[in-house]
Structures are given as C-alpha cells and as structure tokens.
C-alpha cells in the first residue's frame, strides 16, 4: 500500500482512477466469485473524487486517503444497506456508521461495497448466505471460507486492496488461510465493536484482511484504540506501525503446541507450517514444543458460548422495528412467522441450541460449565505465553474444501478447531499465507501472542513473509 500511497502522493494516479480499476475488476470477477452482496460504486467514486480534491489542496486525511476498502456486510454503514447475508435484513439500511467504518472514513478510504458472509457470521464457508456462496478465487469449485469469505475472496481476487472482517471463532483467519491473504483477529477489546452486528459479544472482534503483513498492520492501525461507545474497548490502546526488521524475531521464543499437529492435520499443511517454522528458526527464533491441553475442549466450549450469546443477540430481530415482518393476528405469532421467514437453517439451528443451553434447567450443565472451561482455557493460554513470546500453529487443519462438501453441521464446526482458542482467551491471532498444497490451494500459518502484543505478531509474520518472497524471487 505504500507504493499506491506514493503514486497518489505524486499524482501519478488519482483515487478516482484507482477506485475505477477496482470497480472494473469487481465487474469482471465478481459474477463468478460473488464476494460482494452490495457494490457501492457510485458512492465510492464520489468519495474518491473528494479524496483527490483533498490531495490537490494538500489536505489529505492520511497517507491512505483515497485508497478504497471493502467492508463485511455485518458492519453497519450509514445509508448503505447492511444485510448480514440474511433475508431478514435484506432491506435494512443503518442510520449510523460502525466505529470502524467511521475510522476508515476518517482516513479517507472510499467504501467499494459490502462483502458476503455466512448469515449473521454463523458458518465457516460463506455457504450459509442468503445471497449465494462466495467462491474461492484460487478454485471456483471451492469455498472461500467463512464467515468473512467475501472479504477474503475480494482481497485475493484483487477486487479490493484490503477489507474489514469480523472474527468470533476464526472468521477472519480461516478464510484468509483459504484465500491466501493475511488476516488478523485483534486482542479482544482492542477494536471497538460499536455498530458491528453481534454474533457473540464476548468473542467478536473486527480485524483487517490484506494482501501482505504490512498492509494488514496499516489497516489495523486505523482500527485500534479505545471507543467510549464500546464499554469493553475502554481499556484499549492505539497501535502504531512497528519497525519492519527481520532481526526483530531474533531471540523470540516461539511455542509450537503439539496438540495442533496431531491426527486430522493434513500432511501438506503440516509440511508447509514446519517449513515456515524452520525459517523462523533460521532467523534466530527459538522453537519450543509446548502443550495447550485445553484446546481439546475449545470447540465444545466455543459452540456453547457462541450459540447462547447469539440466541440472545438475534432475539431483537422480531419484525417490530425493522427488517422482515410477516403480519399475524397477534404479536407472538408475528414474531415467530417473521423469524421463520427471515432466518436460514444454520441461524435457526444455533438459536435453538443457544436457547436450550441457557434454559433454566440446562444453564448449569452447559453455559456455566462452558464458562468454567473457558476460564481454564484462559489459564492454559496465559501459562503458555509465560514460557514463550509467540505461539505458532496451522490456521486450519486443511485447505479450502469443495462447495457443498460439508453437509453435516458438526463437520463445519470443526473448521474452527485451531482458531477458536484465541477468541476464547481473547489473545490476538494472525493468519499468514505459507505456501500451497499440491492442488495449488493456499495454506495458512497462525501466529498467536499475548494480549495487546499485535506488534510482535506482525513482526514475526513479516519476517516469514519476506523469506518466502525471497524464495519466490529466486
């Protein structure tokens, strides 16, 4: 992005031209890929012309003023419909911007459009979208991952230079891995969630997707910081870009948890990750085998919490104030019919599960138990991060699967096997492309670190990224 910023600065390209390029690319590629639910080309061009005028006056809002962005469609954009890939909100136009949208607008980024996702971010393939599946730009028969599949595919296909996603159990990192882009799930509470349609508030975070580590860091620097409207983000800190220096990994203690390399891990993925670990070692990092024994319980714990919170968060979609309404003689019937008509099968399934685990009779057995296990997971992760500075794992056990391949919801839930841990413990986690499998599908490697130590993740990922590039150039 530095190159683009320099071109804009030197007036070798205008923001309008830049946005036009991306819109053309969207026009060409998106009919196949379906990364976007809504393309806001006209608005983006108007914003680009504003950016050009600002530059001409020497009043650029930031070095990135005029570089466009794509926004996941569960993030509120004032005046631009925000569907959450649900029929329920197909016509819903927010009256306010999410905090992260305000932030990117303040930096002058035109919004190209709203990207596809699994309905209300519930899923790992973007197949559960009321607006059709997003296809993987590397293989159109395969999924882009999810739930931020649209954002990852848009960046991978060159339809957007970068994008915003949300991550509750892996929803930024898994599609980033599948599509071969960089994705960061920040520390819980580092980025304001205000205006992001909640899936599970105790796990949700907004983060960047980009083609390279530096761009992801630049976008993250626009997002991070406290926001008084999100009580959870009040302890947050802003983020400034780190020194990009391969030497920064020298002496880093890198933990490799054995639980993430057991059965179920695709050997090609394992090989690629091991190769990257080798690079880190060559750069001076000290690899240590560690244990994260609680990861075994992460998926069950995650599902219990996510369904419980989601069942409550999605209850507001009752047809009274906005969204889909099916008229009926009394309000209870109206609620039921509106929700039945507005929600897809996975959303209904999770609402049912969540309602069950919160019911008075089951609460102790499920929700309370999940909270206790979550506390154990947090202790386990904290303990590990006392021994090491970083934890490195594969992002996903496998590369992108075929559209329609995972028919059983349980199979789909296992997609978050390596990613849910970071959400449950609130630590930051980044997925970096690390080679391809024999089919040419991207593989992702995951870096996890201590709370608010995103800088270290970026530096380590950057180092690996640079050695890979050198390898490719050679």
């Amino acid at each position: 992005m530095r190159k683009t910023a320099a071109l804009l600065e030197k007036r070798q390209i205008s923001s309008e031209e830049l946005v036009k390029q991306y819109l053309t690319r969207i026009e060409e590629a998106d009919p196949q890929i379906n990364a976007f639910i809504t393309c806001s080309g006209e608005e983006a061009l108007a914003q680009a012309r504003d950016a050009d005028r600002r530059r001409a006056r020497g009043e650029a809002l930031s070095p990135w003023d005029g570089i466009p962005i794509a926004v996941k469609d569960n993030i509120s954009t004032m005046g631009l419909r925000t569907t959450c890939a649900s029929k329920f909100l197909a016509e819903y136009v927010p009256v306010f911007d999410a905090a992260v949208v305000e932030n990117v607008r303040k930096a002058g980024l035109p919004i190209l459009g709203k990207t596809n996702l699994d309905e209300f971010a519930m899923g790992s393939s973007s197949e559960y979208s009321a607006f059709g599946v997003t296809k993987n730009p590397h293989d159109l028969e395969r999924v882009a991952g999810g739930s931020s599949g649209g954002s990852a595919a848009a960046v991978a296909a060159g339809e957007a230079p970068w994008a915003l996603g949300t991550d509750t159990g892996g929803s930024i990192r898994q599609p980033a891995a599948f599509c071969g882009v960089v994705g960061l799930k920040p520390t819980y509470g580092r980025v304001s969630r205000y205006g992001v349609v909640a899936l599970a508030p105790s796990l949700d975070q907004v983060g960047p997707l980009a083609t390279c580590v530096e761009d992801a860091a630049i976008l993250f620097s626009l997002l991070a910081g406290p926001d008084r409207r999100d009580a959870i983000s009040s302890q947050s800190r802003p983020f400034s870009l780190p020194e990009w220096d391969l030497d920064s990994v020298r002496g880093l203690r890198v933990g490799v948890p054995k639980e993430f390399f057991g059965s179920g891990l695709n050997p090609e993925v394992e090989q690629a990750v091991n190769a990257c670990l080798g690079e880190l070692e060559r750069l001076g990092a000290q690899l240590q085998s560690i244990s994260l024994y609680t990861n075994e319980y992460a998926i069950e714990t995650y599902l219990t919490i996510v369904t419980a919170e989601a069942s409550s968060c999605l209850a507001r979609f009752d047809g009274v104030r906005y969204g889909r309404r099916v008229e009926a003689a009394d309000s209870n019937t109206m609620f039921a019919k509106s929700r039945a008509a507005g929600f897809g099968p996975e959303v209904k399934r999770r609402i049912m599960l969540g309602t069950y685990v919160l019911s008075a009779k089951q609460y102790k057995l499920f929700y309370e138990q999940a909270q206790r296990v979550r506390a154990l997971i947090q202790q386990d992760v904290a303990q590990a991060l006392k021994q090491v500075d970083l934890i490195v794992t594969p992002t996903t056990p496998n590369t992108a699967f075929k559209i329609g391949e995972k028919r059983n919801p349980l199979e789909m839930y296992l997609s978050d096997l390596y990613t849910a841990l970071a959400n449950l413990s609130g630590i930051p986690a980044l997925s970096l492309p690390c080679g391809r499998d024999s089919r040419g599908l991207p593989i992702g490697i995951q870096f996890m670190g201590r709370h608010f130590e995103e800088e270290l993740l970026f530096q380590a990922a950057y180092a690996v990224e640079q050695t890979q590039r050198r390898g490719e150039d050679a």
């Binding site: 069942s311 209850a315 609620f335």
Partner: protein
C-alpha cells in the same frame, strides 16, 4: 379471631431522576412526542452497544445507603430474555445474579410501634417502552403502537423480605419508602406516571405456623389505595379457600380496580424461562474506591431522623412531627418559625389548621408573614378565633397581619372602661335575667357573654369580658 397469619412481600420499581437513560444519552423527560427520545442504543438497532450511566449507579447506591444496604464493590449486569413488542432488544439488561445492594431495611412507625421491613436487594435495570393500543386493551385492538421514549430509563428494583403482616402495613411501608426516596431526591415517585410501581406477593399460613403458604403475585397495583385494597381482597379470598380445605394456586393475579377484585393472569406452569446470563457487552460494575463514602456524605436527613428531631427539639407530638415529616414544605416553615423563636406547638397549631387547607390551594405564605400573625395573636391584638379571617386576608393581600387587622378594625376590644360601660348596658337591659342568675340559674352566664360579644362584633377580649362580668354579677 383470625385463623391465619398474613405474609406480604413487595417488589417496587422506581424510575430514577437521571437526565439521560441508563445506557444512552437520550432524555428521560416524561410526556415527549412518541419516539422522539430514542437512539440506536435504546431502540436496540443492530450493532448498538450499551454504555452505563454513572449517575444512575450513584442514585442506586444512594437508595441502597438510605435503606441501610450493603453496597457491593463489584456487581454485574445480566440479560433477561423474553419477547415483547415494547422490549427493543428482546432482552432487558438487569442485575439478576450479583445485585448492587443487598441486605438492608427500612424502619417506620406502624401505629404506635416501630416496624422494620427487611430489604433483600436493590438492583439496577432498564425500563421497557410503552404500548399504545388502538382499542381499550390488547385483546380488543386492531393494532398497537409502541412508544420507545420510556425504553432504557433507569430503574431500581427494591425487593423486600416477606416481612409485612397486613395490607395496611404494606401501604404504610410503601408510603414511607416513597417519602424516603423523595428525601434523597433519586426519584419523583409518581405512581400515576409509573415512576413508582409496586407488585406484591401475599400468602397465608395457619396462625403461628413457621411454614410459609402458597404465594400469589399481585400486579397492576397503580395506587397506594389499590395496593391496600387488592391485598385485603386477596387476604379474604385466600382465607376462604383455606377455610374450605382447598389449596391456593400459585399464580400471578391482576387487580381489577373497577370491579374491586383480583383476576388470574398466569399460573406457575406457564411462567416464562428468562434464560438469564451475564451481559457480555458490559464489563463488571466495579465501584471506584471512596465513591460510596462520597455518596454517603450527600445523603440528607432522612424521615425517621427528622421525626425524632422534631419531637426532641420542637417538643412536637408524634402526630404533629409526622405531619411535618410527611409534608416537608410545611416542615420547613415550622423550622423557620422555630428559628425565629416560636414554640413548635404554636407553629404546629397555626400550620396544621386552616392554614394547611389554604396553602394547599394557594401556595405557602412566607415565614415572615406567618410570624407576623403569630405575633399579633401573642400581643392579644386579635383573639385566636379570629385567626382564620386574618389568614384568609393574608393570602389575598400584601399587607402584614397587623396592617390587615388595623385596616379592618378587627383588633380586640381590650379597653376596660369601654367594656365596663358596655356590660352595664347589657345588664341593665336584662334586669329580670340578672335576678334569675343571681337566684342560682347560672347557665344564663353564657347568654350575658354572648350579648357582650355581639355588641362588640366579636372583638371583645374574652378574658377581660369574663373578669368584668363576674365582678358585676357578683360571683
């Protein structure tokens, strides 16, 4: 002899007098244009997040302190999930598991004895919106509209232990609680506007038994009178059921004010499962050190303290002191008059009589004008039975009490010579009666007094008239 003990517990919802709502900046003013005081947060729009209003926490702590509660340094918010059109998020943010205040009590006089009712808990929660039905009720309406102005107004819920023994006591407790809340200024407690609402639980048990009976929850108690009447009705209804040897059904019943009876709403079997769980959008509520102490220092004198001070310092009777505590505007006048040196009982005498009626109609007089009135009574410029006339004039003119009396010529006739002459005239005009009186018909004395008073248009000083008359009649 009654056969049963009555056991009553109350749940009181109190709207706090904060300027803005519990989780957003919207105004809490009553009576605005429908849906004019709303924002994405209190409308529960997707993505909006709650942000806690510190002032509401302060007021809840203040109420907790005034009710002798333990204030918890750490409390937590929870979600109470249920569907209703007036509930924007389909959950209410409340404090189910770890409330802000617990284990308090309120002391008050019930009859002649001091009663103490335990407060189990006080917690913060948000108010719902308001349904406006096109017909008379939800059942016979073609449609209903929702006004969300009220949604998100901060409430405290005060829950008592089942300590209350009679419908009358319940009413008095609620009145005293309301007075206390008014004193500390956290709520305007207007039952008619819904800023004070009360639900009641009532059960009966055989006299002396320790086993609690099956309780019934009473709703829709929109006034103090309704509370007492509904409980009285329910006490009798349950007594009759138990007399028949039947069991009371555990249920919620609503008070039908018009028909004067309670009607079943829903039984325990269809009670909702609210699926409570910790509110993930808000961190734990942790009170900063010293805050509770700061709030404590802002609590004014409370009703019971004031009552004993009035009795002690001004020598007022319980009855008088209670009047001034219950009507602090009158209490303040009494205090001002006392500060000017007037005896409490004199001030009470003046303020609690004809003055109270006039002041409620026309507003208060200044303490200075009232003191002027007390002064001319003291001086004997008027007799006490003329007080009402002077008061009436005080409300209608700007003149002082003394000026009024002089202008109207109402002053007492205290000139002994003049009165002596008058009395002579009266006695000479009734020679026959004077003789009968002297012969022992003493009840005629009043007639002579009356004649003298009439001749002076009531202005004669009764004491002087008495002295002179008795001397003249030789008794």
């Amino acid at each position: 002899m009654p056969k049963y003990d009555t056991v009553i517990g109350l749940e009181i919802h109190v709207a706090l007098l904060t300027k803005s709502k519990l989780f957003c900046g919207c105004s809490t003013t009553f009576g605005g244009e429908p849906n004019s005081q709303c924002c994405p947060i209190c409308l529960g729009l997707p993505g909006a997040l709650p942000r806690l209003n510190e002032r509401a926490v302060e007021y809840a702590i203040k109420a907790g302190l005034a009710l002798n509660c333990t204030i918890h340094e750490i409390s937590r918010f929870d979600r109470k999930n249920y569907y209703y059109p007036d509930l924007p998020k389909a959950y209410q943010i409340t404090q189910e598991f770890y409330p802000l205040c617990t284990d308090g009590y309120l002391e008050y006089f019930y009859g002649d004895s001091l009663a103490r009712t335990k407060i189990t808990r006080i917690h913060l929660e948000e108010e719902a919106g308001k349904l406006i039905h096109s017909g008379a009720s939800i059942i016979d309406s073609d449609y209903s509209l929702v006004d969300y102005n009220r949604a998100g107004i901060p409430l405290i819920e005060i829950v008592t232990a089942p300590d209350i023994r009679s419908p009358q006591q319940a009413r008095i407790f609620l009145e005293q609680l309301r007075l206390l809340l008014n004193y500390i200024g956290v709520s305007d407690t207007k039952m008619e506007e819904g800023s004070l609402r009360c639900d009641a639980n009532i059960s009966l048990k055989p006299l002396g038994s320790t086993q609690l009976g099956t309780r019934v929850e009473l709703k829709n108690l929109n006034s103090f009178r309704a509370l007492e009447r509904a409980l009285t009705y329910e006490e009798r209804r349950q007594g009759e059921i138990l007399d028949r040897g039947d069991k009371v059904n555990q249920e919620s019943r609503t008070w039908d004010e018009r028909r004067g009876r309670t009607l079943p709403m829903r039984s325990k079997a269809d009670a909702l499962d609210y699926r409570f769980f910790p509110e993930p959008d808000l961190p734990r509520l942790k009170l900063r050190p010293g805050w509770v102490e700061e709030i404590k220092s802002t609590i004014p004198e409370l009703p019971m303290e004031r009552l004993s001070r009035y009795e002690r310092e001004y020598g007022l009777s319980r009855y008088e002191a209670t009047f001034f505590v219950n009507y602090p505007d009158f209490g303040q006048l009494c205090e001002k008059l006392a500060a000017m040196g007037w005896e409490g009982s004199r001030a009470a005498n003046l303020l609690m009589g004809e003055y109270a009626r006039l002041a409620r109609e026309k507003g208060h007089l200044t303490p200075e004008r009232l003191a002027g009135l007390l002064e001319i009574i003291e001086d004997g410029l008027i007799s006490s039975n003329q007080t009402a006339d002077v008061l009436e004039e005080l409300f209608n003119s700007n003149l002082s009490a003394r000026e009024i009396v002089l202008e109207k010529g109402w002053q007492v006739l205290a000139d002994t010579d003049e009165l002596q002459a008058l009395i002579g005239e009266v006695l000479q005009g009734n020679v026959e009666l004077v003789e009968r009186y002297r012969a022992g018909e003493t009840k005629l004395y009043g007639f002579f007094v009356g004649q003298v008073m009439r001749a002076t248009e009531g202005k004669a000083d009764p004491k002087i008239v008495n002295d002179l008359l008795r001397k003249e009649l030789g008794t």
